[in-house]
């Protein structure tokens, strides 16, 4: 019990502490690829600290939904993060929810963020909310199917069980094609859900293109800090999911100081590598038009479905 509590607290701290770094790292990679020096990788920490200290300005047209949303978003995203194995394969909160719970916890945050976008009454907020609604609608089926394709191999929809079994190489089929297809699908989903290029551009405030940024346009001060931190956490959740479900190597399969240390280090290395990859992708592709996004997400859905078909075909 005590050990479990400590593990949960450590996982919370790791997620909270590392997520701004990942955001900073992606920005740095993009800057370097654009031949800029860019801000330091620790700049997001300074941004958050500054935002927390600033006086928030709240729109006088808003209701309590607007000020409650950052807390709900922060809590639901962090709760989702606690369901994913981070550096130890058997998370103590395994019993609290499986992959469906994770998807719907993230959806809870999205729901309130859409409401908050509408609350201030400005056109930007509404526009962002409307676009977020369609992107979320299209990602979720692909996400559920791709996760199911992976779940079949491990015989479980519990993330911990999937990761633990994969890490111990239990029940892994010799042919990895279903896994690879599901990986591709989940990667596209991750990009869409976390609002990265080519679906959304986190670095722009242009009304033609913004989705996530438009929804949170009215936020300032501590509320903005929480929303930004939650966005970083969401990115972490997806990167962790991809890293640990598809490449759980190095993750601690038992609770011993040495393995935990190795688990933590390899985890940081894996998510940093994925952050590098995202930075490169963001630099290589242009943002898609909103109605082109559907094609991309359609591809993700078909890939996930193919993964499922392949699984059954290969297994006979």
């Amino acid at each position: 019990m005590l050990q479990a509590t400590i593990l949960v607290i450590v996982q919370t701290i790791v997620l909270l502490a590392v997520s701004p770094f990942i955001v900073g790292l992606i920005r740095k990679v993009k800057a370097r690829l654009q031949l800029r020096r860019g801000a330091g990788v620790f700049q997001p920490y300074l941004d958050l600290a500054k935002l927390f200290r600033k006086q928030p300005v709240v729109s006088s047209t808003t209701s309590w939904i607007f000020t409650a949303t950052p807390y709900i978003l922060f809590a639901s995203t962090l709760a989702a993060g606690l369901l994913v194995p981070v550096f130890v394969s058997q998370t103590p909160l395994n019993f609290a929810g499986n992959i469906i719970a994770l998807v719907y916890l993230l959806a809870l945050g999205t729901f309130f963020l859409i409401l908050a976008g509408l609350d201030a009454g400005s056109v930007f907020g509404g526009m962002g909310s409307s676009r977020e609604a369609i992107v979320a609608s299209l990602t979720e089926p692909a996400m559920i199917l791709s996760i199911f394709a992976i779940a079949l191999t491990a015989g479980s929809t519990n993330l911990s069980t999937i990761v633990h079994k994969t890490a111990l190489l239990e029940g892994i089929v010799t042919d990895p094609s279903p896994h690879l297809m599901a990986l591709a699908a989940l990667f596209i989903v991750a990009i869409a859900e976390t609002g990265r290029v080519p679906v959304d551009n986190p670095a722009t405030h242009l009304e033609l293109t913004m989705i996530h940024e438009a929804m949170i346009l009215e936020y300032s001060g501590r509320y903005l800090a929480l929303v930004e931190w939650a966005a970083g956490l969401k990115l972490m959740v997806f990167l962790t999911l991809i890293a640990n479900v598809f490449a759980p190597w190095g993750i601690a399969t038992s609770v011993e100081p040495a393995t935990l240390g190795i688990g933590l280090v390899t985890y940081l290395a894996k998510v940093s590598a994925l952050a590098l990859l995202i930075g490169v992708i963001e630099s290589m592709f242009a943002k898609l038009r909103l109605f082109r996004v559907t094609d991309l997400l359609g591809v993700a859905f078909i890939l996930a479905l193919l993964g499922l078909v392949f699984f059954y075909v290969l297994r006979g």
């Binding site: 919370t12 958050l48 600290a49 927390f52 200290r53 006086q55 928030p56 300005v57 729109s59 006088s60 047209t61 209701s63 807390y71 709900i72 922060f74 809590a75 639901s76 962090l78 709760a79 395994n94 019993f95 929810g97 719970a101 998807v103 719907y104 916890l105 959806a107 809870l108 729901f111 409401l115 976008g117 509408l118 609350d119 201030a120 009454g121 056109v123 509404g126 526009m127 909310s129 409307s130 676009r131 609604a133 369609i134 979320a136 609608s137 299209l138 089926p141 199911f148 929809t157 069980t161 009215e218 001060g221 501590r222 800090a225 929480l226 559907t294 479905l305 499922l308 078909v309 059954y312």
Partner: protein, 676 residues
């Protein structure tokens, strides 16, 4: 105990039918008497439902009649008790709400009559689920349809209400015709209308007849439930009724059809199905769920939007039932029980949150006198109670944790995912695909309720109606708050709900799965196997609360106490007006465009330019419609066909009395000839 409660329940409703109509025409008195009695009956019903669910033996009672084959037999088994409980809880809240809501009708409609019909409607629904005789069932079923029709046309002075009522009346009778056929097949084989002979006929029904029963029941009860493509009446009739009636119709009346389907398939037919029965139910469920939510998204009349969501949720319930039927075919009893349990869990959840949402919509109607969402706005500040209750309902129907809608949808997901145990590879692929459709449905429902809540309750009021709106009377708030609390309880306490549902399900599936679904002393749900999946709604709720506090702690630690500053929203240099806000139509525009193959939208934009210059528009007219596919391609041709037939048949109706006498004479002779 049970018989006393049942007698009290029926007496309260019966007195509630008779007394308000007999009272002097004093609306306030009639209101209190009618809805007070309905409240009392609701309490008795809830108690009866709980007792019936845990009772070891079903309660049976019967009064024979002089009409052949008819006996007023009732039987209260756990399935019936579960539906009594659902009807009573919703009935109680709706009656409470009605005390405040019908004040709106004091000058416009006879309150005593509405109260009588209301009690009669509840009574007939109660009798439908406990009837144990086919003939008796049909009588109360018809009574339920007719009474609800009368209630739908309460505001019969409006033409669209009359149209909605007529549409409903026709469709419900088409459905009833199929139900009569279903029962006649049983009657023909067993020689009695008693449900006991339906259940245990002397010789089992031949295969062809069983298939016929399956299809007839699906069409007949499906019409009432509102499955696609038989749903067309629902978005007309449910919104046309007064809101507390809409809550009953959408919340519980359509559930009686689910009751009847479970009764016929799992009880009468004994759960022996070929695999394609379950598959058909699954497909119907998936299509209903997806199309229901898609049409709901395009609807800006709040009550019609909710009505379409009933189609969606009936689809989700059928996904659970269908999965259960498929598993039963392959003899995987535990998963069959799980599917059925998930479907029934969603049945009560939908009853509660849909009733809550309809009551919320009624409150908005009461406060603003309009159902058009585009005229709402900013109501959360003006109607804080209604707003919070509606939000709880919206979060529940969007299946977000930790509410009840999430728990039951999660169970449906699990039963679909367990499909890899089925030997057929076709079904192995189809069930996850249904899960993907369910995921799409879920997230579209999220978008739809973000729209419904966001446009109605947030930002600036969009009309003078909304600006002048105020909070509704206390009884209405109590009715809504009660259902909101039930929503949360059903979500947080599945350990209390699952054992009760297991008592309903286990006789049909032949296996009890209570200890397999519940893990960790009931604190987590782990369908069939902890290794496969688990969910702990109470813990998730706790986690959310704790982590919000962590967020608050971080804010305090890094920022300390700072006073917020309020300022108007930046409107690019000009003052923000409601006309600049995003509208509901605008909000769903991307969705409409992405799914244009389904919607087939027609957009018309007419611009009238100034005479001086074509750069300035004088007036713009924008219109958009989505194609009512089912009405246009399925119902309209049928209507045309039947009208043409009627035209032809008019020849025999010459209006001459002698001719009619001749008809009677000829009929008599023909009958005599046949008899001889």
């Amino acid at each position: 105990m049970m018989s006393v409660l049942l007698a009290a329940l029926l007496t309260c409703y019966a007195v509630g039918v008779v007394l308000p109509a007999c009272l002097p025409r004093r609306p306030k008195l009639q209101n209190f008497v009618a809805h007070g009695l309905a409240c009392a009956a609701g309490l008795f019903g809830a108690a009866l439902g709980m007792v019936g669910l845990v009772a070891s033996e079903p309660l049976t009672a019967s009064i024979s009649s002089s009409i052949p084959y008819l006996s007023f037999a009732v039987r209260l088994d756990p399935l019936a008790a579960f539906f009594i409980l659902t009807i009573s809880v919703v009935g109680f809240a709706a009656s409470m709400y009605a005390v405040g809501y019908v004040t709106e009708f004091y000058r416009r409609a006879p309150i005593g009559l509405i109260g009588s019909l209301f009690n009669g409607f509840l009574l007939s629904m109660t009798l439908v689920v406990i009837a144990d005789n086919g003939f008796f069932f049909l009588i109360v079923w018809e009574l339920m349809s007719l009474l609800s029709y009368f209630l739908v046309v309460t505001e019969h002075e409006k033409a669209d209400v009359r149209y909605a009522g007529l549409f409903y009346l026709i469709m419900t009778h088409v459905g009833t015709a199929f139900i009569i056929l279903t029962f006649l097949i049983f009657f023909q084989e067993g020689g009695s209308f008693s449900f006991e002979t339906f259940r245990h006929p002397e010789q089992p029904l031949p295969e062809g007849m069983r298939t016929l029963v399956f299809l007839m029941a699906l069409i007949g009860f499906g019409t009432k439930a509102g499955i696609v493509p038989l749903h067309v009446w629902l978005p007309y009739a449910h919104p046309a009724a007064p809101s507390h009636i809409s809550a009953l119709m959408s919340g519980v009346m359509i559930k009686t059809a689910i009751y009847a389907l479970v009764r016929v398939y799992f009880d009468f037919l004994g759960g022996q199905f070929p695999w394609w029965w379950g598959f058909v139910v699954l497909v119907v469920g998936a299509i209903s769920a997806l199309l229901g939510v898609m049409y709901a998204l395009m609807e800006h009349d709040l009550k019609s939007l909710l009505a379409y969501h009933s189609v969606e949720n009936i689809g989700i319930i059928l996904l659970g039932l269908g999965a259960g039927m498929i598993f039963l075919t392959y003899g995987i009893k535990e998963f069959a029980a799980l599917g059925l349990l998930a479907g029934l869990y969603h049945t009560i959840n939908h009853a509660i949150f849909k009733a809550l949402l309809f009551l919320g919509a009624g409150s908005l109607l009461y406060a603003t006198h309009t159902r058009n969402m585009e005229e709402y706005g900013g109501l959360l500040r003006r109607m804080p109670w209604t707003g919070v209750c509606f939000l709880i309902g919206a979060v529940s129907i969007a299946a977000l944790p930790p509410t009840n809608g999430f728990v039951s949808e999660w169970l449906v997901f699990q039963s679909l995912f367990l499909s890899f145990h089925i030997p057929s590879i076709f079904l192995k692929l189809m069930l996850p695909l249904a899960a993907a459709m369910l995921a799409l449905t879920g997230v579209l429902a999220l978008a739809c309720f973000a729209k419904a809540f966001g446009i109605s309750f947030l930002a600036l009021p969009r009309s003078s109606h909304a600006r002048r709106a105020g909070e509704v009377p206390v009884p209405m708030r109590v009715g809504m708050a009660l259902l909101a609390v039930v929503c949360i309880v059903l979500g947080l306490a599945p350990m209390a709900v699952v054992p009760l549902l297991d008592r309903v399900v286990s006789p049909f599936a032949g296996v009890s799965i209570e200890d397999k679904v519940l893990a960790l002393d009931g604190w987590a749900l782990a369908p069939v196997n902890v290794e496969f999946s688990s969910l702990s709604p109470p813990f998730l709720a706790l986690l959310l609360v704790v982590l919000s506090m962590v967020g608050f702690g971080l804010v305090m630690a890094f920022g300390g106490l700072v006073k917020k500053r309020y300022h108007k929203t930046w409107g690019c240099g000009i003052n923000l007006t409601p006309r600049m806000e995003y509208t509901a139509t605008g909000f769903v525009q991307p969705i409409k465009r992405v799914f244009s193959t389904i919607y087939q939208p027609t957009v018309k934009l007419e611009t009238e330019f100034l005479e001086e210059s074509r750069y300035f528009a004088k007036r713009r007219r924008f219109e958009f419609h989505i194609e009512p596919v089912f009405q246009k391609y399925l119902y309209d041709p049928m209507v045309v066909f039947f009208t043409a037939m009627a035209e032809r048949l008019r020849v025999v109706q010459a209006g001459n009395l002698h001719l009619y006498l001749a008809y009677i004479f000829i009929t008599l002779i023909v009958l005599l000839l046949i008899a001889v």
